[in-house]
């Protein structure tokens, strides 16, 4: 029966080098865990199908993403890829995927620019930032901020979030929004912090601060912000990347966030029973805790594999069937439900704040993007 | 005494000197003559360990030099003035001189410098000038000065008078004679054979990497064949030698 065994290759196209290399590596581990679990189940069930991973490095550029996807496909015949990671990488790989009928299951891209109907990109888990930006705007309004200062990454994700937030905040009756962009990969943000602080001072009371940063940027920013008299006297919001364990590892940073009533809207929610199981399995397999978005990669890989089990190793069939499978999948995050762009349409987020002992982020409430309502525990 | 024994040397794979054997006696002023490309500079470089040595030996007072590094050979008391690129062009004249002095004990440096500036006063006036901006002749003086300041026991000079006005060239030869009197062994490559033969004790003529003649300066001057055939010394119609 060994001869009848069929192998499906799952492409994994992620940035392993460059300044997001740490995410790429961790995501790949998430996929690996999913594949090993599915393979074990297939074996137990006596099914003659196994999955294999073929991974390639996007070098964190759009053109690199295109080349990586192309290589994986042409080297292994893969029809489905988990990744790329960021929206610009996804867009870089888009033309090749569309033309050759390859399905991209992107675990974490959420930039508005990727919301394109009819193409081969499926962003199955993480909802587009339109929802999160609305949530942040609501929180800001609810907290009574009259004006806001935003520090954001200068990339599709950061710019999209900033634009969405500003529009929603002002539509909801908010005042001015001063935004500052920082370069991805910057290691030192003291002048940005000074600018943010000055803008906050200019707005006077009732201004709030919103940080749209990746982990390293958040750290660099916190390092200078923690001694800034103005930044330490206003309320903060920040995106999900700021809830990484590394932030709390520095007590100064943790204390700063706690004092600032830092709140984040996170899709990583403990709402399904699978979350803890995932964390335990991951830790058992790799001897370390999963990183912050790693479960999305795990879920994306599962959806991709389930679709392939149903539709076979064929891009067109996978494309046609994927929304159905995704819509019936429940993973470590919430259920998926895809809109006409192939993007996650369910947007129920958890709201998190630093716990009293500064050791973790506690869920303090929830945001339902579809009804646009915030509820606190 | 430097004793060269069946030396074969050159560049990369190219052999220029062929089984050359000769000796520069202690305290003597030897001239090294020969047409362009005959291997005079190559011999000096071989002694200093700068180029490739394929075989043979070079001994300083019985001590083998082949295989030593240039800087170690220099420390044995041999000073060498290359034909080209013989000063530190990016540094000031004074710094060049200080580098020349580095081998001397601290207390002798001031005296040596003063003595030198008496010899080449123009260098004193150019003290703070970047050495690369010196005129051709000033450049050559500085090169000799750097070598001389280390108070070597042996000096190898590659065309020290090239590009020098006759007055300075004359000075240079007088200085060389002085040095010889102080007991320094001198080896000088020179195109102006007639002139050097007036000052030196002994002469070697190279041709195509081989020794074509050796003998006292007098013998050399009287050796018609060497003069005509290898050196082709021309005597000008107008007498210009002082």
């Amino acid at each position: 029966a060994q001869d009848d065994m069929e192998t499906y290759v799952l492409g994994v196209v992620l940035p392993f080098s460059g300044n997001l290399g740490t995410f790429g590596q961790d995501f790949a581990r998430g996929v690996e865990l999913a594949v090993s679990q599915v393979n074990a189940e297939l074996e137990a069930a006596g099914r003659p199908i196994r999955f294999e991973i073929a991974s390639a490095d996007t070098e964190n550029t759009p053109e690199g993403a295109a080349r990586a996807l192309q290589t994986v496909v042409q080297t292994t015949g893969a029809q489905v890829s988990v990744g790329p990671l960021t929206t610009s990488e996804v867009l870089g790989a888009k033309q090749f995927a569309d033309e050759n009928g390859i399905v991209i299951v992107a675990p974490a891209s959420s930039g508005a620019a990727g919301a394109i109907p009819g193409d081969n990109i499926y962003r199955v888990i993480y909802p587009p930032d339109v929802f999160a930006s609305k949530a942040y705007a609501n929180i800001a309004l609810e907290r009574g901020h009259e004006n806001m200062v935003v520090l954001h990454l200068d990339d599709p994700f950061g710019n999209g979030m900033n634009e969405g937030f500003t529009a929603n905040f002002q539509a909801g009756g908010g005042g001015e929004v001063a935004s500052f962009a920082y370069t991805p990969g910057a290691t030192e943000l003291s002048s940005e912090a000074a600018a943010v602080s000055a803008a906050l001072a200019g707005f006077g009371d009732n201004a709030g601060f919103f940080c749209v940063c990746f982990l390293s940027g958040a750290q660099a920013f916190l390092q200078v912000a923690q001694i800034d008299p103005i930044l330490t006297s206003v309320q903060w919001m920040g995106n999900e990347a700021m809830t990484a364990a590394e932030i709390l590892a520095d007590s100064g940073h943790a204390q700063t966030l706690a004092n600032a009533d830092f709140i984040t809207v996170s899709f990583s929610s403990e709402s399904t029973p699978l979350t803890q199981i995932f964390i335990d399995d991951f830790t058992a397999m790799f001897d370390k805790e999963p990183g912050i978005f790693t479960n999305y990669a795990f879920d994306a890989a599962n959806i991709a594999m389930l679709t392939m089990l149903a539709a076979g190793n064929d891009g067109a069939a996978v494309k046609s069937m994927l929304p159905f499978i995704a819509n019936h999948y429940i993973g470590t995050a919430v259920q998926a439900f895809l809109d006409e762009n192939g993007d996650q349409a369910i947007a129920s987020y958890g709201l998190y704040m630093v716990s009293d002992d500064l050791s973790a982020f506690d869920e303090v409430g929830a945001y339902n993007g579809n009804t646009d309502t915030i509820t606190y525990n | 005494m430097i004793k060269v024994d069946s030396l074969t040397a050159g560049y990369g794979k190219l052999e220029i000197l062929q089984e050359l054997s000769l000796a520069f006696a202690e305290g003597q002023f030897s001239a090294l003559l020969g047409p362009n490309g005959s291997g005079k500079s190559t011999l000096m470089k071989a002694i200093m360990g700068i180029n490739t040595i394929f075989g043979g030996s070079i001994q300083l007072d019985g001590r083998e030099l082949v295989g030593l590094r240039t800087e170690d050979i220099s420390k044995l008391g041999i000073a060498y003035v290359p034909q080209r690129e013989n000063i530190f062009t990016e540094m000031t004249v004074l710094e060049n001189l200080q580098l020349g002095l580095r081998a001397l004990p601290r207390e002798q440096r001031q005296d040596a410098l003063e003595e030198l500036l008496k010899l080449f006063p123009i260098l004193g006036r150019r003290e703070s000038q970047k050495a690369g901006l010196l005129s051709g002749g000033e450049h050559q003086m500085l090169a000799i000065a750097i070598a001389w300041l280390s108070r070597p026991s042996i000096m190898l000079l590659d065309e020290p008078s090239a590009g020098l006005a006759p007055a300075i060239a004359g000075d240079v030869f007088r200085v060389l004679q002085d040095l010889r009197r102080q007991g320094i062994t001198l080896v000088v490559v020179e195109q102006n054979a007639r002139r050097v033969l007036q000052y030196c004790d002994y002469a070697f003529v190279l041709r195509e990497g081989r020794l074509a003649f050796e003998g006292s300066a007098e013998d050399c001057l009287n050796d018609e064949e060497t003069i005509k055939g290898y050196l082709g010394v021309h005597e000008g119609a107008v007498s210009t030698s002082p």
């Binding site: - | 034909q83 051709g136 007055a167 000075d171 082709g232 107008v238």
Partner: protein, 251 residues
């Protein structure tokens, strides 16, 4: 009218006056010597005429034109070629390419025509013929495809002269053409210079320290000292000139 005339030429480097108020003239078809102690400003004067260095004051008139403000390429095109004290060949190019490069008015040097060989081939053939002549004259023809770096020191000096000649100059400035050259070859170089003057009417201004050779060939000599003109005259006059003997020969 002299071919080249310098009027009150001056050059300052910072506080140093390398050339001070020099006026001289070079008649057409002459071989003129320029001598003087080291650092007296001879090379600087050559650089000033050739346009590689800017004048501080004074005028330079060549063949009826004021060339004081010409850049070095304009000077060359006007008819003055030069050699360098240190050989400055294109060492990574062959002797032939060295010789052909300075030819004026090459059509193939225009990138519009360059890719179309037919546009410039006939002209290039003519230039190749003159290169054969010139290389023959300096006895380098058999080395035409040798890299300049592989030539001997004397051959380099000769190639430099050949290269300058390919620009068909009226005046050739040479800075110590025989420095470091064995006496026999040095003499041959000067014989060659004499022949070029006789056969082609080229004018020479030559800086040289080897007076025993130079004085055999020059028509007239200028002596510089501390940036000034100290003396001028025929070779015999200069050889007898008391001050020159003092500052230059050190008597």
């Amino acid at each position: 009218m002299p071919l080249l005339e310098l009027k009150g030429v001056r050059k300052d480097y910072g506080g140093l006056r390398a050339v001070d108020d020099v006026s001289l003239h070079v008649p057409e078809g002459a071989i003129i010597g320029l001598i003087g102690p080291n650092g007296s400003g001879k090379s600087t004067l050559i650089n000033l005429i050739a346009g590689t260095t800017d004048l501080s004051a004074g005028r330079i008139v060549f063949d009826g034109d004021d060339i004081s403000d010409y850049s070095s390429d304009q000077v060359f095109r006007r008819g003055i070629a030069r050699g360098y004290q240190e050989p400055s060949l294109y060492f990574k190019m062959t002797a032939l390419d060295n010789a052909l490069l300075p030819v004026k008015g090459q059509r193939g040097e225009d990138p519009w025509y360059a890719p179309w060989r037919r546009r410039w081939q006939a002209q290039e053939e003519n230039h190749a013929r003159s290169a054969i002549d010139v290389l023959e004259q300096v006895r380098l023809l058999q080395h035409y495809d040798t890299l300049a770096s592989d030539l001997s020191g004397g051959q380099m000096k000769l190639l430099e002269i050949a290269r300058a000649l390919m620009g068909e100059p009226k005046l050739l400035l040479l800075d110590e053409p025989t420095a470091g050259v064995a006496p026999k070859l040095a003499y041959e170089i000067f014989q060659q210079i004499g022949r070029l003057r006789d056969d082609h009417g080229i004018t020479f201004l030559i800086v040289e320290h080897r007076l025993e050779i130079l004085f055999d060939f020059v028509d007239y000599v200028y002596v510089m000292h501390l940036g000034n003109l100290l003396a001028e005259g025929s070779a015999d006059d200069i050889a007898k000139h008391a001050t020159v003997r003092e500052v230059y020969f050190g008597e």
